[in-house]
Amino acid sequence: MEQPNLSYINSMSGGDKAFEQKLISIIKGEFPEEKRVYYTNLKAKNYKLTADNVHKLKHKISILGLEKSYEIAVAFENNLLEGNTELQDQFESILKTITRYLQEL
């Protein structure tokens, strides 16, 4: 499975290390809450709201350079809008990978 990286953050920071740290800190703060809301809405089978959560999470997936995972998130978001949870396991595996990565940063 592809691994998260800081390529995008480095490319857009222009070498500003303080900004890189600030952004990582924001992601570390925001990601767990977005993940929590995702699981809550999915458990309640509120797929429209779950799709909204996936929509927001997929931005972080792209920021962390996970290109293939981003495609899975796009497909999962579209599936959810039709009430289909087929890609749930794959998507949640991506969330776990990001969680581990952020813990190590």
Binding site: M12, F19, H55, K56, S62
Partner: protein, 241 residues
């Protein structure tokens, strides 16, 4: 240019703020996590440019554009490329950036914003992000946004619109559509000579009436109630013998 950033995601606001800080001609005056706070700010402040997220809970970027009077230049920022067609229906939108935004693409958008002269547009306080009426060469069409796709509906084929909570159901000869909108908003988009609101929850196509009995109308197979207050207007529209 003085600008503001509207995005419900703190990460996105930080990235756009950083990209702005690399451009000398841009000054970020404020950042907002939702459109409502930004509207309050704009009631008292004038700015040149807004970076606006489309996909926000409760009040979308398009709802925001429809709400403010004389919007400044707007650069849309979104993770979803599917809104591009809808975006350029608005004169105030100068560019459309898909996240994650690269510095190169951001720079281009700013250049566009600096060179584009937007035409002031008369805005009403209420309209709808989900429904856009389009005058096409083939006649009157109504485009509805369903699951991020703009679907064309032939207006004369609509025989009934029914309010259902936060949604409306549009019934046509061939198909029914459920759209996130209100009866009031679609009423503004439908031609007065063809459509009439006969009840607080129903708009009908007068041409499609089969019969009328006391306080109800048969239209296709649907029996629709006529409210007392709307009945005189309905009777006026009929070619009574």
């Amino acid at each position: 240019m003085n600008c503001i950033i509207i995005d419900d995601e703190a990460t996105a606001r930080a990235i756009i703020g950083q990209l702005c800080s690399n451009i000398e001609s841009l000054t970020v005056l404020e950042e907002f996590p939702n459109a409502m706070q930004a509207i309050k700010y704009l009631n008292q402040n004038t700015i040149d440019l807004i970076f606006l997220d489309i996909h926000m809970p409760d009040f979308t970027g398009f709802d925001f554009i429809e709400t403010i009077k004389n919007p400044p230049k707007i650069i849309l920022t979104t993770s979803d490329p599917n809104f591009a067609i809808q975006a350029f229906e608005y004169d105030c939108i100068v560019d459309y950036l898909v996240k994650p935004i690269t510095p190169e693409r951001f720079q281009k958008a700013i250049q566009k914003a600096e060179t584009t002269v937007t035409k002031p547009k008369a805005h009403t306080a209420t309209s709808d992000a989900s429904i856009e009426k389009v005058e096409s060469s083939s006649g009157n069409d109504l485009y509805v946004n369903i699951d991020r796709r703009l679907i064309k509906i032939d207006i004369p084929s609509v025989y009934l619109v029914e309010a259902k909570g936060d949604y409306i159901q549009i019934k046509t000869e061939d198909k029914n559509y459920t759209v996130h909108s209100t009866l009031k908003k679609i009423e503004e988009k439908l031609p007065d000579d063809l459509f009439l609101k006969i009840h607080r929850s129903y708009i009908i196509n007068v041409d499609k009436i089969i019969d009328i009995e006391d306080n109800s109308v048969l239209i296709k197979k649907d029996v629709i109630p006529v409210s007392r207050s709307n009945r005189p207007e309905l009777m006026k529209r009929l070619n009574l013998l």
